[in-house]
């Protein structure tokens, strides 16, 4: 058999297995959210069934706080992502374009802190957060999540900014722009794909994060994963249909986000910047 044919078939088999491995659990969660209690636990599993929206109706009737959790998660995720994007762009630009011993030292420190387990760095903050009145606010989780990812995002953006030819900035400078104008009009549009790549990490983390949300929120800023945990740990027993419906709703924004930004990630918009 032709080697190329074998490679092609092999590639498709590996890809299919990979997709199945990743997508099957999601499929089971989402499909189960449309099943009755009996269908969920049917043996063998039912892949063809009469769908029902009862689980979703029950979810928002019996757990109205889940909606509040979603709103809180949305605010915190957007806040942390925007904060990370802005600070990482500025830091990435500084690390890419300027060089000094102090900058090298700060970069080393940033990576060092990132190497430590986040919980070790965060728990001691608890009294300080309380004293500042930041406990159970959106702000504390926005700050924490941004702080966790600013180092990674900075290095991603530094790498992207390194690839933007300096001559573009010099051309903009000769054309009369200030450093801020160059950053906004040249560097930012050309590092959008890097920024999106960095933001994917923050969005996924902030949307799903549980432990710090549990430590630093109690009521007002409680996020959706905490409510999910409450649903799964309800005193009256786990209502699996509702839990699957909640998990499906929790999944939806992340899926939408990844689908929305995938073209930014794969498009190399610096093509044509220089000769060639």
């Amino acid at each position: 058999m032709d080697d190329r044919y074998v490679i092609l078939v092999g590639r498709w088999v590996v890809l299919t297995l990979g997709v199945f491995w990743s997508a099957f659990p999601i499929f089971m969660v989402v499909s189960s959210s449309f099943k009755t209690h009996l269908d969920i636990f049917a043996v063998p599993p039912k892949f063809i069934f009469q769908p029902t929206f009862d689980n979703y109706v029950l979810l928002f009737r019996e757990w109205p706080q889940f909606l509040d959790g979603l709103v809180n998660s949305m605010i915190i995720t957007v806040g942390a992502t925007v904060l990370t994007a802005i600070t990482s762009l500025l830091a990435g630009y500084a690390y890419s374009r300027f060089h000094s011993r102090l900058l090298t030292l700060s970069a080393f420190f940033m990576i060092l802190v990132r190497m430590l387990p986040p919980i070790v760095v965060t728990i001691p903050l608890f009294p300080a957060v309380n004293a500042m009145g930041l406990s159970d606010t959106h702000a504390i989780l926005i700050l924490l999540y941004a702080a966790f990812f600013v180092s990674l995002a900075t290095w991603i953006l530094k790498t992207f900014i390194d690839q933007i030819p300096r001559e573009l900035e010099e051309a903009a400078e000769v054309e009369g722009s200030s450093v801020w104008q160059r950053l906004v009009r040249v560097v930012l549009p050309l590092s959008v794909h890097g920024m999106v790549a960095a933001c994917v990490f923050v969005v996924v983390f902030a949307w799903n994060e549980y432990v710090f949300a549990l430590i630093f929120t109690s009521n007002e800023a409680k996020t959706a994963p905490l409510i999910l945990a409450e649903i799964s740990g309800a005193i009256e027993g786990v209502q699996w249909g509702i839990l699957f419906a909640a998990a499906s709703v929790q999944l939806l924004p992340i899926l939408a986000f990844v689908l929305l930004v995938q073209k930014f990630i794969v498009t190399g918009i610096t093509a044509g910047a220089v000769k060639g």
Binding site: L168, A172, G176, A273
Partner: protein, 364 residues
């Protein structure tokens, strides 16, 4: 329209001296071309004028006003980069309008000026395209458009044609010359291509190792180079150099090549202390003549269409290029004689490389 004066301009990178005491006066509307080998400091000089590099010493004045402390963005100079440096996320029109937008120029004025510049450069149909959708020549034109649209006091060109293929380069060179004749803006143009320098420049500045070797019109540099470096750098194919040693007294036929061939230079009147010199003759100053004083063997024949370049081996050290007629029929291995007109030759000091001024005037 502006004048530019450079006074004692120096630039050091640590121990490395990139520019050493450069003095230059550029007249209003003058087109100056900086030439020199890679690393000679020509691009550094251009970047100092633009403000992209800070000079270590000296002063830069535009219209007699020092711009040494002035930021790049406030110098109102325009620069065309070797890589074009077009903004890939902006269309042709947006690229051209970039500087005007930064200066918050009125929208109608921007549209009018962009349309004018695009028309001038033959980009009218392409204003909605992105740089990646353009050919090399079109990108180069966009870079030019971005430079001319702002009405700058000074144009700076950093090897703008070097990324184009040979044919397009010649075409763009002609277009650039026509454009500069129309606009008449004071310009500094950096290139390592001396053909480009000869065709475009009002005056050429030849640089080497951070210093200016010679300033002059293209023909002054070609006809009267002040030293071996300029003589060898200007002209393609380059000037032939033959090292000559002195035998006997201080009259006519005392100079001979390393292989002992006598070279008669009766009018030179070299000072008695000079024991060896370098004779420089351009290929078109030599002719193949069996009665000529230099004897050699044809090694390579290169027909160029309009002429033929014949490379003649004189001795182990010297391979001379001779421009012959377009139908020259020499074959490798042919023994030939070479003659030259002493008035078209130059003598240089072997040690210093400087042109020798003899008792009866310059060597040429």
């Amino acid at each position: 329209m502006s004048t530019l004066i450079l006074e004692g301009l120096s630039k050091n990178y640590g121990e490395v001296e990139a520019l050493i005491g450069v003095d230059l006066n550029v007249g209003d509307g003058e087109f100056i071309v900086l030439v020199g080998p890679s690393g000679c400091g020509k691009s550094t000089l251009l970047r100092c004028i633009a403000g992209l590099e800070k000079q270590s010493a000296g002063d830069i004045r535009i219209d007699d006003r020092s711009i040494t402390g002035v930021q790049t963005r406030d110098r109102n100079v325009a620069m065309v980069f070797q890589s074009y440096a077009l903004f890939p996320h902006l269309t042709v029109a947006e690229n051209i309008a970039f500087g005007l937008r930064i200066r918050r120029t009125d929208k109608s004025v921007i549209e009018e000026r962009v349309a004018h510049a695009a028309g001038l450069l033959g980009l009218g149909e392409l204003t909605g395209r992105y740089p990646r959708e353009l050919s090399g020549g079109q990108r180069q034109r966009v870079a030019m458009g971005r430079a001319i649209v702002r009405d700058p006091v000074l144009f700076l060109f950093d090897e703008p044609l070097s990324n184009l293929d040979a044919k397009l380069r010649v075409q763009m060179r002609t277009e650039m010359k026509a454009l500069r004749q129309r606009l008449g803006i004071t310009s500094i143009y950096v290139t390592h291509d001396q053909d480009e320098a000869m065709t475009l420049a009002d005056r050429i500045v030849v640089m080497n190792n951070g210093r200016i070797e010679q300033i002059g019109t293209p023909m002054e540099l070609y006809d009267a180079p002040v030293n071996l470096f300029v003589a060898g750098f200007m002209g393609s194919p380059p000037m032939n150099f033959i090292e000559l040693h002195r035998k006997g007294g201080n009259s006519g036929a005392q100079l001979e090549t390393a292989s002992g061939q006598p070279v008669p230079l009766p009018e030179r009147g070299l000072s008695p202390g000079v024991r060896s010199v370098v004779l420089g003759v351009r290929p078109e100053g030599l002719r193949i003549d069996d009665g000529g004083p230099l004897k050699g063997t044809v090694e390579v024949v290169e027909p160029k269409g309009s002429e033929t370049q014949v490379f003649v081996r004189l001795d182990d050290l010297h391979l001379l290029c001779v421009t012959a007629g377009k139908r020259a029929t020499f074959q490798p291995g042919d023994p030939v004689g070479i003659a030259f007109d002493a008035t078209e030759s130059h003598l240089f000091d072997t040690d210093s490389g400087q042109k020798i001024t003899t008792e009866k005037g310059t060597a040429a």
